[in-house]
């Protein structure tokens, strides 16, 4: 039977349009054998388990040997070293591309099947089965669990499977397979990501520089941070504050971290301790506090104690690459940004993911799904260019950080809750655009210069810088000034009073 099919496949089509886009994508009609004699292509579970166990080895062995002052609580002026990435040997590009294209087609077909009427779910299931075979270690093309596209496709396949099963990943919780991630793994992965790509630092540095400029002569600075995570952003701000030349002495710095309570609050407390210790090592006067979101995850400005004479700065980093975990809903973010205005913040620094432009304004699941695929593919490519360490490290970052984010992104695309840029939202509410200084812009370029030259900085208006990998926008930092606060509603306390409903824990240091 195989003989017959090869012969049949050699024939040209008659009566079919040969000028179609078929040829442009290298999928020549005549390349197929219409009946594939499969033979058993089984996913070898033992092999996969072996790879997993390799990645769960003591992660400290994987950490970069550079001496990061913040993480090691050691005052030092050394900057984190960033290795230049050796160019990966190009594999047999043609085959990889073909397979990659095939995977993309299948993913798109699966998304279409899910997005259509109910009748297609079985088709989606069958396509996902096929995808899993193609991206499993047995079906993958190279030893360390496959090519970039294969690994990316594996995560998207899992995300779609989650949608199909209606599992918790689809509704925004942690995917089951990732609940077993060791906290040390998560931290290590986050640190790796920070070191190996400018994704995180870009936002932090841009925001920090704008904050520095905004509070240049203030004696007291109060930062209200929506999602402090490990507090890495503030370590570098603190360093900058103490090393200002020709300027005033370092101000008193206060940070109020917004938390959700429960386990999150404990992690934030830990962050606060770490920050306090670091500040002490720098000789910087420092105070740390928390402010809890209410049951709806809404931010109440009244929960933040504001001291007369201090410059209030609102910091809002909405990157899903935090080690901390899940995103918060749009209502919560909106309440924070509004609350910043109420608190009379001097500036609002916003770091967020850049949205894909909508394809033809359709806004359907398939379009959004392909957008996410495009985005994460670019992200994946950028990481691949930046990781000089062997595949285990990259595998850790992919598995622990990027995989769950993909699941979340696909889930959100499915539910149609795409969030438009918050910058636009703020502009619409009368927030002013605060220009980004030339110095800030140059600093961003310098930062990117330390990494692969596929990264670009783009300006999007006077107050916004965008980090892009090749043509794909990844993340942006924008600076805003709030509109005058509205008349205080009854439940807000006057600025300066201490609220009895606060549940702060202060770490005073002196």
């Amino acid at each position: 039977m195989a003989v017959a099919m090869e012969e049949a496949a050699d024939l040209e089509i008659s009566g079919c349009n040969s000028n179609s886009t078929i040829d442009d994508n290298g999928c020549a009609w005549t390349d197929w054998s219409p009946v594939m004699d499969w033979g058993p292509l089984s996913a070898d579970d033992d092999f996969r388990g072996l790879i997993e166990s390799m990645m769960c080895d003591d992660p400290t062995g994987l950490a970069p040997t550079s001496f990061d002052p913040y993480w090691n609580s050691n005052p030092s002026s050394t900057t984190t070293s960033v290795g230049t990435s050796p160019v990966q040997e190009p594999r047999n590009g043609g085959d990889d591309n073909e397979k990659g294209l095939r995977l993309v087609h299948l993913l798109m077909a699966a998304a279409e099947a899910l997005a259509g009427c109910h009748e297609s779910r079985e088709l989606a299931r069958v396509i996902l089965v096929r995808l899993k075979e193609l991206v499993s270690p047995a079906g993958a093309t190279c030893g360390e669990g496959g090519t970039t596209m294969e690994r990316l496709a594996a995560h998207f396949t899992d995300a779609l499977q989650g949608l199909l099963d209606g599992s918790s990943a689809a509704v925004g919780g942690q995917p089951a397979s990732h609940r077993d991630d060791l906290p040390c793994d998560v931290l290590a992965a986050f640190q790796l990501l920070q070191d190996m790509s400018p994704y995180v630092k870009f936002g932090h540095f841009t925001a920090n520089q704008a904050i520095l400029e905004a509070v240049a002569v203030d004696r007291r600075v109060h930062i209200v941070d929506y999602d402090i995570a490990e507090g890495v952003q503030w370590a570098s701000l603190m360093q900058a504050l103490v090393s200002r030349k020709d300027g005033p002495p370092p101000p008193h710095m206060r940070i109020t971290a917004v938390t959700r309570g429960g386990g999150g609050a404990r992690a934030v407390q830990e962050t606060g301790r770490r920050l306090a210790a670091f500040a002490a090592s720098l000789g910087l006067p420092f105070t740390f506090g928390q402010c809890r979101l209410d049951a709806d995850e809404r931010f109440r400005p009244g929960g933040v104690k504001v001291v007369k004479g201090e410059a209030v700065v609102a910091n809002c980093v909405l990157q899903p690459l935090n080690a901390a975990g899940t995103r918060r809903g749009p209502g919560s973010v909106a309440s924070f940004l509004s609350g910043a205005a109420t608190l009379g913040a001097r500036v609002v620094a916003l770091v967020e993911e850049e949205e894909q432009e909508e394809e033809e304004g359709e806004g359907d699941f398939v379009g959004r799904f392909m957008g996410e695929l495009h985005r994460y593919s670019a992200l994946w490519d950028s990481l691949e260019a930046g990781f000089p360490i062997q595949g285990r490290a990259r595998g850790l970052v992919e598995r622990v950080i990027l995989g769950p984010r993909i699941a979340g992104a696909v889930g959100r695309a499915y539910r149609g809750c795409g969030e438009g840029g918050w910058g636009e939202w703020m502009a619409g509410r009368g927030f002013g655009r605060v220009g980004i200084s030339c110095f800030n812009h140059c600093q961003a370029r310098l930062l990117l210069g330390l990494f692969n030259d596929g990264y670009r900085v783009e300006e999007d208006g006077p107050n916004k810088l965008v980090l892009a990998w090749k043509s794909q926008r990844l993340t942006s930092a924008s600076i805003w000034s709030p509109p005058p606060p509205p008349p205080a509603p009854a439940d807000l306390l006057p600025v300066g009073a201490v609220s009895n409903s606060m549940e702060d824990s202060y770490l005073l240091l002196d």
């Binding site: 039977m1 003989v3 017959a4 099919m5 012969e7 049949a8 024939l11 040209e12 089509i13 008659s14 009566g15 079919c16 349009n17 179609s20 886009t21 078929i22 442009d24 994508n25 999928c27 197929w32 219409p34 009946v35 594939m36 004699d37 499969w38 990889d96 591309n97 990659g100 294209l101 993309v104 087609h105 798109m108 077909a109 279409e112 997005a115 259509g116 009427c117 109910h118 009748e119 297609s120 779910r121 079985e122 088709l123 069958v126 396509i127 096929r130 970039t148 596209m149 394809e359 033809e360 398939v366 379009g367 392909m370 695929l373 495009h374 593919s377 670019a378 490519d381 043509s471 794909q472």
Partner: protein, 409 residues
């Protein structure tokens, strides 16, 4: 590599028209499981509309998901994909010839025998027709001393041992039986029929039935059979047994074939055919496709539920089906050996009425058939023809699948 934007991928059709599969209501939940049927139907439509990018997309998807070794849907996808591909590339006849030659190389008496015997063990698909036909033949030829059965069938003479036994155990004189088998191109080489003949002769000797066995080979198409080829004798009572035979006659020659049968002056003609209508052609490609898909969907499902999960015999039968499917859906011309364009019982009824008159199966025969069905797994049942038809239908899960009927001059 950078993922291309969706707009750069060949024009995708986001909402395939989801037509329903066999006998299902628009919101039949089981329709959702027939993912292959849906894709295949969409592809057939695209081919008839010459929508080349859609054809490309669907053929590609089917190729990714199909397998002749998977579940029912995957198998259907695989075999129908082959037919659609050949249809789209107009390579059906060449492909068919290759499939046939490959099959013939591995075809032997032993293998054919194994397949059909196993099939008869697990399913009444063929034995149903045998029991009904034998019953009608025995009753019609009661009392005759010299019998001549002209057998045009596709079941390798597995029908006749039971008949020989019945002849041998009759109370009166055992009649003399002449069996003339009409063999066409698709029935294996000369060695197969020779082996069959030898075994039949041996069996008849054992039964004590005077017996003669002949094979008549028709060069290309069944429609070319002539009366002279059969060597009829004056003093014998003729019965013509057509099991899966009439459909192998080219559609336009079927009327003539009836007349030929009539000219043989038989006492009884038994006809057994599968219940499907593959006669729509040309502009009605989609309709023919859907009927083909419906029928073979039932057949494959029946095979899956009747055989053990890993069965070579089943695989053999499926491959045979793939040749029929290819022939119906991708071959237009005459140069392809046996035609496979089935017609439904009601359609054959109308044709046969031109030359014969219907004969009802007696109650005894119907009882015999019922007893037969009891020996198999549940799901099978008997349905007497209603209305203008005559004959009996074998049903699988309440769907008529095989039609058996008897006729007299």
């Amino acid at each position: 590599m950078i993922v291309k934007k969706a707009s750069e991928i060949p024009n995708q059709h986001h909402h395939h028209h989801m037509s329903t599969s066999r006998q299902s209501e628009p919101d039949d939940p089981s329709a959702s499981e027939k993912w292959a049927a849906n894709l295949l139907q969409d592809c057939a439509k695209a081919i008839s509309e010459k929508d080349s990018s859609k054809i490309h997309h669907l053929l590609w998807m089917l190729n990714e998901l199909a397998s002749p070794y998977g579940d029912c849907e995957q198998k259907l996808a695989s075999y129908f994909l082959q037919a659609l591909f050949c249809k789209a590339t107009e390579s059906g006849e060449r492909c068919y010839k290759t499939l046939v030659s490959v099959a013939e190389k591995s075809h032997s008496f032993e293998s054919a025998r194994k397949v059909i015997l196993k099939f008869q063990e697990v399913s009444p698909w063929t034995t149903f027709g045998h029991v009904a036909s034998n019953g009608a033949i025995l009753e019609a030829l009661e009392g005759e001393a010299k019998l001549h059965i002209i057998d045009i069938s596709n079941t390798y003479c597995t029908q006749w041992p039971t008949l020989l036994e019945a002849l041998a155990t009759r109370s009166d004189e055992t009649p003399h039986l002449r069996l003339t088998v009409v063999a066409t191109v698709g029935m294996g080489g000369g060695s197969v029929m020779k082996e069959i003949g030898q075994r039949m002769e041996k069996f008849a000797r054992l039964m004590g039935v005077p017996f003669e066995f002949h094979v008549v080979r028709v060069a290309s198409q069944l429609g070319e059979l002539k009366e002279e080829d059969l060597g009829l004798r004056e003093d014998e009572a003729v019965a013509v047994n057509c099991v899966g035979a009439l459909r192998r006659v080219a559609v336009e020659e079927r009327g003539d074939f009836m007349r030929l049968l009539c000219s043989l002056r038989p006492r009884v003609v038994t006809v057994v055919e599968e219940e499907a209508d593959f006669t729509s052609t040309g502009s009605e490609y989609v309709r023919c496709f859907e009927e083909c898909l419906r029928f073979y969907g039932v057949f494959f499902e029946m095979l899956e539920e009747s055989f053990a999960p890993t069965s070579n015999e089943r695989l053999s039968l499926e491959r045979e089906c793939s040749r029929s499917i290819l022939s119906v859906l991708a071959c237009d011309g005459d140069g392809v050996g046996d035609c496979e364009r089935r017609e439904k019982g009601s359609q054959w009824f109308a044709r046969l009425m031109q030359a014969f008159s219907p004969m009802n199966f007696s109650d005894d025969v119907v009882d015999d058939v019922r007893a037969l069905l009891k020996r198999y797994r549940s799901g099978w049942s008997l349905l007497p023809a209603q209305g203008d038809d005559s004959g009996l239908y074998l049903t699988w899960k309440d769907e008529p699948v095989v039609w058996a009927s008897a006729w007299k001059p």
